[in-house]
């Protein structure tokens, strides 16, 4: 049996909100095999985004273990974890989080800076991904691209470093149902082509049926 791309064991994380509220995330076991695509569903405030940030090593859990491609994320020191994230994990956000003032190509190249790929291959890799995702103006900055094109750039950037795992945080939240389905299909298809596992969070019931496996987070 191949080693899982993502393995979560006994994860506990308490989010304390100074203004009241807050929540506790508890996940006893979650595993993704290489190339597997999983939807994490749940209502707002159930901790879906927090789960992805814990997996990416951007937050530290109270307890439990998260392994990505066999390496425990939180056993690494900060710089090591940053480097590992750059090589093994791609992230897509609801608001895309593209870099202002950088062209579409430069956004993808920025991700490649922190990858394992040799420098001489960066430009070719970026152009190849952007072309495959239908980016017509790779030299345009995000503010000159349509929302759909921006999302494609975000997908290209997440997959640029050939990660084993892509984390997509509510990528359809700001889209209408038709575009939401298309966007999810685009992400899924691109991950499939690149051989990356996908952990996608969404509270949108319309995309549930597009995933073979759905994990429910309870608030």
């Amino acid at each position: 049996m191949p080693e899982p791309t993502l393995a979560i064991q006994n994860l506990r994380f308490t989010h304390a909100d100074p203004g009241g509220g807050g929540f506790t995330l508890a996940l006893d076991d979650l595993q993704l095999t290489p190339g597997e695509q999983v939807l994490v569903a749940g209502t707002s405030g159930s901790g879906k985004s927090t789960l992805l940030q814990l997996v990416a090593g951007l937050l530290d859990p109270d307890s439990g273990e998260i392994k990505v491609d066999g390496r425990a994320m939180h056993a690494m020191n900060g710089a090591e974890r940053d480097r590992y994230r750059g090589r093994r994990i791609g992230m897509i956000f609801q608001t895309f989080n593209l870099l202002d003032g950088f062209s579409a190509r430069e956004n993808v190249l920025a991700a490649l800076m922190f990858s394992d790929l040799p420098n001489r291959e960066h430009r070719e890799r970026a152009d190849q991904l952007l072309q495959r995702l239908g980016i017509e103006r790779p030299d345009a900055t995000p503010d000159r691209l349509s929302v759909g094109q921006q999302q494609r750039v975000a997908v290209a950037r997440a997959l640029a470093s050939r990660p084993g795992l892509v984390l997509a945080d509510e990528p359809t939240a700001s889209l209408d149902p038709a575009n939401a389905t298309n966007a999810v299909e685009l992400i899924k298809e691109t991950c499939r082509q690149e051989g990356a596992a996908l952990l996608l969070t969404s509270h949108d019931p319309s995309i549930r049926d597009t995933f073979e496996r759905v994990e429910e987070l309870q608030a």
Binding site: Q53, L58, L59, G78, D82, R87, A110, L112, H122
Partner: protein, 452 residues
């Protein structure tokens, strides 16, 4: 994509703030360098003026005024020395050389030095470097003019021009009266020396004495003086040119060289050098002895140009240091400008930093990106400042030359420039520390959310 590319993109996004910050640093660096360079160049320009003259005798009130007037042509000296006195001083000591000079006239604001031919053979504007003529020769007889390089440039005089001299310097109390009875012919143009002499014109003492004798006689309102006077109608055979624009309503008085009296044969200064001891370079051992001998004569003022220039710099030294301190303060404030610009930008860049972190950029690398950005602003400012300094020095040199007659050649001393640039970079790096720490500590998860 490289770290530098990321930094340049970041600077471009905040273009206005970047340009203002770079200009702030540039102004500070330019100001500091200009002051340092002008201080060095100014001192060397002052030192150049005295050339190989070891002593200057005049009837000015103080040795410093004597040097300012006699070497730098600041003002026409008010108190003359008679030629009889000069001859007595000349014969009182085995001088290496003595050169009499008289200041009092000008041409288009440029001082005219009346002297003798020893001025060109004995006196050297820069010790060890004799006069060099770009064109022509030194004056050989009265009413001939040799023009300094800067004076030639500003007046446009060329060989063969015939011009009248004006009594007094431009802006002096005596200024304004044109000696239009005699025209002086330009016979030589000098090479630049970098000293105050470049803006002067030089002529023979005798011609100058004649001009002033005629002035004196006109003032006295006498035309008899079997002595000396002939009116216009009778006289036109001096062997030199006269201006003929005489509309004063009275006859002009012309004086011949042989008619000059002791009262006319006046000078305003004597440049002197003492003999060096055989086989020994530098200041002669007999200089103090000569100096003391002259000091005993209370009717004259004796100055050592080198000492007076040193004294002048001691006087202005505090002001000079104040200017440098102010320039350093401006430089420090520009460092605060960098800090504020970067600190404020951190607020807008929290999201960018968070994204870079997600992409795999470590906290340490984020820190170094901000420090490098700060240093780049410093480099931009320093290089712009060096250019501004070069331009500023040229302008300041031009102003000093026009207003004070101080000929300075601004030179950018590489060591000074390097020290200032290095200091600016250290300052910029220090200014970037706060913002870099702030960037280092930027929480990623919180800043990935949309910022309203």
């Amino acid at each position: 994509m490289t770290d530098l590319r990321i930094i340049f993109r970041s600077l471009r996004v905040r273009l206005f703030s970047t340009i203002v910050t770079v200009l702030t640093v540039a102004i500070a660096v330019g100001l500091l360098l200009t002051l340092l360079i002008l201080r060095e160049s100014g001192q060397s320009a002052f030192e150049r003026g005295a050339g190989n003259a070891e002593l200057l005798v005049s009837a000015d009130n103080s040795p410093l005024v004597s040097v300012l007037n006699g070497i730098f042509y600041a003002n026409p000296p008010r108190n003359p020395i008679s030629m009889t006195k000069y001859e007595s001083i000349r014969d009182s000591f085995p001088w290496k050389w003595t050169v009499p000079m008289q200041l009092g006239d000008s041409y288009q604001g440029q001082p005219v030095v009346a002297t003798n031919s020893d001025f060109f053979t004995e006196f050297q504007p820069i010790a060890g470097q004799p006069w060099v003529f770009t064109e022509g020769r030194r004056f050989a007889r009265p009413y001939e003019l040799v023009v300094g390089a800067e004076a030639a440039r500003t007046t446009g005089l060329v060989i063969g021009d015939r011009v009248p001299l004006t009594h007094g310097f431009s802006g002096s109390r005596e200024g304004g009266h044109v000696h239009d009875t005699h025209l002086f012919e330009v016979v030589g143009i000098l090479e630049p020396t970098g000293a105050s002499h470049d803006r002067a014109l030089f002529t023979d003492l005798t011609g100058s004495w004649v001009l002033h004798a005629e002035d004196r006689l006109e003032r006295e309102g006498t035309s008899d003086a079997s002595a000396a006077a002939h009116d216009d109608e009778e006289h036109d055979d001096h062997g030199h040119d006269h201006g003929h624009d005489h509309d004063h309503g009275h006859a002009h008085i012309h004086v011949e060289v042989e008619d000059l009296t002791d009262a006319d044969r006046m000078i305003t200064g004597i440049l002197m050098a003492v003999p060096s001891r055989s086989g020994r370079s530098g200041a002669s051992a007999v200089l103090p002895q000569a100096f003391d001998m002259l000091r005993r004569d209370t009717s004259i003022t004796v100055a050592s140009p080198a000492n007076q220039i040193e004294r002048l710099f001691a006087i202005v030294g505090n002001v000079d240091q104040l200017f440098v301190a102010m320039a350093i303060a401006v430089l420090l404030s520009s460092g605060i400008g960098i800090l504020l610009a970067l600190w404020n930008s951190m607020e807008q860049r929290r999201r960018q930093i968070a994204i870079l972190r997600v992409l795999g950029c470590s906290q340490g690398r984020v820190f170094s990106l901000v420090i490098t950005e700060s240093v780049l602003i410093g480099i931009g400012g320093a290089l712009t400042g060096v250019f501004a300094c070069w331009l500023g020095s040229l302008l300041a040199a031009s102003e000093l030359r026009e207003r004070l007659g101080l000929v300075i050649e601004p030179e950018l001393d590489p060591a000074t420039i390097l020290v200032v640039i290095a200091g600016t970079l250290v300052l910029a790096a220090a200014a970037g520390l706060g913002p870099a720490i702030r960037a280092y500590r930027t929480p990623v998860a919180r800043n990935l959310r949309p910022i309203s």
